[in-house]
């Protein structure tokens, strides 16, 4: 139980990675695969964020009233990295969906098992 509460974010992150990869592996529908990739991304981002987490720490933002010390703030680097990663993930997602639209135009299906015009 202590382990669970200590590592809950990591467990969540790895769980999301697992689920995301599993979706990509077993699902045949492009949209579901894209969702799987996003779940995977989310897992990775969660891991990144939680790796910079400081127990009892606050957001690394000074505000006029409060007198938070640097030692009580969480590491800002993973947050910056995740911000970038999220934007990148969103970009890929948008592109993937637009490609999905076009793919459907051509194949009338999104079942990847049937979309095998390119092989061997």
């Amino acid at each position: 139980m202590i382990f669970l509460s200590e590592y809950i974010y990591y467990i969540g992150a790895i769980g999301l990675i697992f689920i995301g990869l599993l979706i990509v592996l077993v699902k045949r529908n492009l949209i579901k695969v894209v969702i799987g990739i996003n779940v995977l991304d989310t897992g990775v981002n969660l891991f990144l964020i939680s790796s910079g987490y400081l127990k009892g720490g606050t957001a690394p933002i000074y505000s006029p009233g409060s007198d938070a010390a640097p030692s009580t703030m969480v590491d800002p680097v993973p947050q910056a990295l995740v911000l970038t990663a999220i934007v990148i993930g969103a970009s890929v997602l948008a592109l993937a969906l637009s490609l999905g639209i076009k793919l459907y135009d051509h194949y009338e299906t999104l079942d990847l098992e049937e979309i095998r015009g390119q092989r061997w």
Binding site: T58, A59, I61, S63, S66
Partner: protein
């Protein structure tokens, strides 16, 4: 963080939980969408409440952004559902 705020948060969580059940059960897509709509509103309130608990003003901005994004998202979802499913 005292007993009052803890009870506030748990009550909201109960509401969230009930909505979440509705979202899972459906049965129709609009049912799920409505459940999500309810949840987003609750989450905005929760965010403000958390800001209150942690005494961090910045959570208000987060709440505002969240309500805005969820509004746009739900309108988009509604427009999508309109066409049938």
């Amino acid at each position: 963080m005292n007993i009052v705020t803890i009870s506030f948060l748990s009550i909201i969580c109960l509401g969230l939980f009930l909505s979440f059940i509705r979202m899972l059960r459906g049965p129709t897509p609009p049912d799920r969408a409505v459940a999500v709509d309810t949840m987003t509103t609750m989450i905005v309130a929760t965010l403000v409440l958390i800001g209150f608990v942690l005494e961090r003003y910045v959570y208000l901005d987060v709440a505002l952004v969240y309500s805005l994004i969820s509004f746009v998202g739900l309108v988009a979802l509604a427009r999508f559902l309109e066409k049938g499913f």
